[in-house]
């Protein structure tokens, strides 16, 4: 039994250590397949490695681009941040102005006046507290070439409670750089005649203006043209010529009431900056018109004006201004019955003149003081009996308090020596107040 078991073990050992040849070929085959598979995998792996390398390269490229873009974004964000503190706000300059310019500039200027004079009789009721005038001032661009301005004055006067003081069109950009006005306006003659009352340094117009051109100066319908002469000198020159409706519209003044002939006028302004703080202006004016019904231009007015301005500093300045007018006329007057039922017409040759001088000191941002001297020969059609023409003279002193840019108080004392021999002392207290938009024209 023992021997039988040994035989079986030997046979088993023999089977193990002596395998058949078919078993060896199968393993090799497998090995071969595996090698082939390994080779394929190796190829794929190489391919993938190449692919990854390419992709990595691309990624690197993208990274560089990303960095460039990030730099650019940072740069743009920086610019945006700067703009956000300066310009990218919901409201920026300029944009606001668009709607506002559709409406005209409208302002109201109130001129209240308290007057107290020394006349023993006062038939005109001159001692009074009165709203002398309330001006409604309007203006706006009409189109790119022109502008319309109008001033309507309301007053407590029973004769003329409402008056159209000014209404004129200004046409810019005419040939040779000239500018024209047409309508009713104040002529550019001298200094005081061309400005509104609220721009005067005193409460009333200088006597020569009141006597020769009307209590409030001239507002006449007409047309004028101005040009700044660009000569190669340091002197700035501006010439203005115009034609106005004849007369003074009142039975006062050198041109009277008659409108037979229009009034022609011209003005030459000469200005020079003496230095940064001082300027001097010298002007000359010429007017020709008629006072009677014939066709001659028998009234001729020559005017001269001079203004010196000096700024002591930002808050203190001074103005010295003088203006003179000489009137030469050959006025036809009917002064005598010829005894035959007719009249003898005489020409009144006359030469009269008037002038004023004014000094104004702005001594403080809120205060100014000044004085004015007036002298004027009357326009009376007849010479005095003694043949010696006398003149009106006035001495005024005033104090102005500027409450704000839009409110001003002024007190003035005036002593007048009249050619008729009557003297008068008057005290005026004026309040001038502006609301709305009111910009003064630059003379």
């Amino acid at each position: 039994m023992r021997a039988f078991a040994i035989l079986i073990i030997l046979f088993y050992q023999l089977c193990i250590f002596n395998q058949p040849s078919w078993a060896d070929s199968s393993v090799e085959e497998e090995m071969k397949v595996m090698k082939e598979q390994f080779a394929v995998m190796q190829t794929k792996m190489n391919s993938l490695e190449d692919k990854v390398a390419r992709q990595q390269k691309q990624i690197n490229g993208y990274e560089a681009s990303k960095q460039a873009y990030e730099t650019r974004i940072t740069d743009l964000e920086g610019q945006l941040a700067k703009q956000s503190t300066t310009s990218a706000a919901p409201v920026t300059g300029g944009n606001h102005l668009i709607p506002s310019k559709w409406t005209p500039e409208i302002g109201v200027v109130a001129d209240t006046l308290f007057t107290l004079n020394s006349a023993k009789t006062d038939t005109d009721g001159e001692d009074r507290l009165n709203v002398r005038e309330l001006e409604l001032v309007m203006g706006s661009a009409v189109d790119p070439f022109s502008r319309l301005d109008a001033t309507i004055a309301f007053s407590t006067s029973e004769d003329e409670p409402v008056a159209l003081e000014e209404a004129y069109l200004t046409r810019f950009g005419l040939p040779f750089g000239s500018t024209a006005r047409i309508g009713k306006f104040k002529p550019k003659v001298g200094k005081a005649l061309g400005v509104h009352r609220d721009s005067l340094d005193t409460i009333d117009e200088p006597l020569v203006i009141q006597r020769y051109f009307g209590e409030e100066g001239m507002n006449k319908t007409g047309v004028d043209i101005s040009k700044i002469l660009d000569l190669p000198t340091p002197v700035t020159q501006q010439i203005t010529v115009g034609v106005l409706d004849g007369g003074n519209a009142e039975d006062v003044g050198v041109f009277g009431e008659t409108k037979r002939r229009p009034t022609l006028y011209s003005h030459l302004k000469n200005y020079i900056d003496i230095n940064d703080a001082t300027g001097f202006e010298l002007g000359g004016s010429y007017m020709a018109g008629s006072r009677d019904e014939d066709s001659r231009f028998e009234v001729q007015v020559l005017g001269m004006d001079a203004t010196l301005t000096h700024n002591f500093n930002a808050n203190q300045n001074m103005k010295i201004q003088a203006e003179a007018f000489n009137v030469d006329r050959k006025e036809s007057v009917i002064d005598e019955d010829d005894g035959l039922g007719g009249t003898i017409r005489h020409d009144l040759d006359g030469n009269i003149w008037g002038a004023y001088g004014l000094v104004d000191f702005r001594v403080h941002p809120l205060w100014s003081i000044g004085g004015r001297y007036d002298i004027v020969q009357p326009i009376a059609a007849e010479l005095p009996v003694d043949g010696v023409r006398k003149d009106d003279q006035a001495y005024s002193g005033y104090l102005t308090f500027y409450q704000s840019e839009f409110a001003r108080w002024r007190m003035q004392f005036t002593h007048t020596d009249s050619a008729t021999g009557k003297d008068d002392n008057a005290v005026y207290i004026q309040g001038t107040f502006a609301i709305g938009e009111h910009k003064h024209k630059i003379q």
Binding site: T86, G93, L97, K101, G173, F176, I239, Y271, D273, K441
Partner: protein, 312 residues
């Protein structure tokens, strides 16, 4: 009469129309700081002059006939727009050159693109003083705003003189590059100003204060355009002591009395903050103008005043 008409015609037509200086562009600005910016970009291709002397309050300039003449010859009119220079429109109308009028092609409004501060948020009344309708118009007081102003000037110069466009661009680039450097320098100098409070005469440094992070909300004027009153001065004295304010700022063109008086009462000092190039010695151009102002405020607040680089 014939002589009268003849004389006028001779004057009107026989005078030379222009004596232009070569091919330079004639530019008139309202303020000196604008003139300097234009000069920095246009350099020798432009003739520049300013209407308003920096020694006077910009609100109340009275243009002279010589200013009218300058504007009548100008190709461009550079201004602050808005409603700061109320005399500007009458000046332009007196000169009669419609192409320079507001919104016309020759009118360069430097407020364009500026982020405005203190824009009214309620219906306005003059009872509030002489306030500005569109926001605070003193935007020239921030150097940051110069970036926008230079861009506006550059575009207009390129438009009217395209032949020299690259020249202007190069100049603008150089200016802006220097501006970047200077702004960093100014911010560094005034770094400690942030959060501090001062009292100013008029509300004209809001952009300056905004640039520095400074607080300037109390003014010697009780309301814009209204001079100091005794009652308001008493209020300011109490306010300054309560808030530990030691600096009272003012430009040169206001009376210095009120500022000096308040400074003495609060134990502080008066500091001059210029509003325009040339207002004080050492403010000859845009950069020296801000050098001066930042040094003034820095020293006034006793901060980093030892940095002498500003004087270079």
């Amino acid at each position: 009469m014939k002589n009268f008409i003849l004389g006028f015609l001779i004057l009107l037509f026989a005078v030379p129309l222009s004596f232009a200086d070569g091919d330079r562009i004639n530019i008139v600005t309202t303020q000196t700081i604008f003139a300097d910016l234009v000069k920095q970009i246009g350099k020798d291709k432009v003739n520049v002059s300013a209407i308003a002397s920096p020694k006077y309050n910009i609100h109340f300039i009275q243009p002279k006939p010589s200013d009218i003449r300058s504007v009548s010859k100008a190709d461009l009119y550079v201004n602050a727009g808005l409603d700061l220079e109320a005399w500007s429109d009458p000046l332009l109308e007196a000169a009669g050159k419609s192409k320079l009028f507001r919104n016309a092609e020759g009118n360069v409004d430097l407020s364009q693109g500026i982020k405005l501060l203190k824009i009214p948020d309620h219906p306005l009344s003059r009872a509030e003083g002489d306030i500005h309708l569109f926001g605070n118009p003193h935007f020239q007081m921030s150097p940051e705003n110069a970036r926008v102003m230079v861009r506006t000037i550059l575009e207009k110069l390129k438009e009217v003189d395209s032949v020299n466009a690259s020249y202007y661009e190069e100049n603008a680039k150089g200016f802006l590059s220097r501006l970047d450097q200077k702004i960093a320098e100014w911010r560094n100098l005034c770094a400690d100003c942030k959060g501090k409070e001062i009292i100013n005469y008029h509300d004209n440094i809001v952009y300056f204060a905004d640039f520095l992070g400074l607080k300037a909300e109390q003014f010697l004027e009780p309301k814009p355009g209204i001079p100091p009153t005794p009652k308001h001065m008493r209020f300011l004295e109490a306010y300054a002591k309560a808030h530990n304010i030691t600096v009272v700022a003012t430009p040169t063109y206001y009376s210095q009395d009120a500022a000096q008086s308040l400074a003495e009462k609060i134990g502080g000092k008066v500091v001059t903050i210029a509003q325009g190039v040339g207002e004080t010695p050492g403010t000859d151009d845009f950069f020296s103008f801000f050098d001066y102002n930042f040094k003034q405020i820095s020293e006034g607040l006793s901060l980093s005043a030892t940095d002498t680089s500003l004087n270079k």
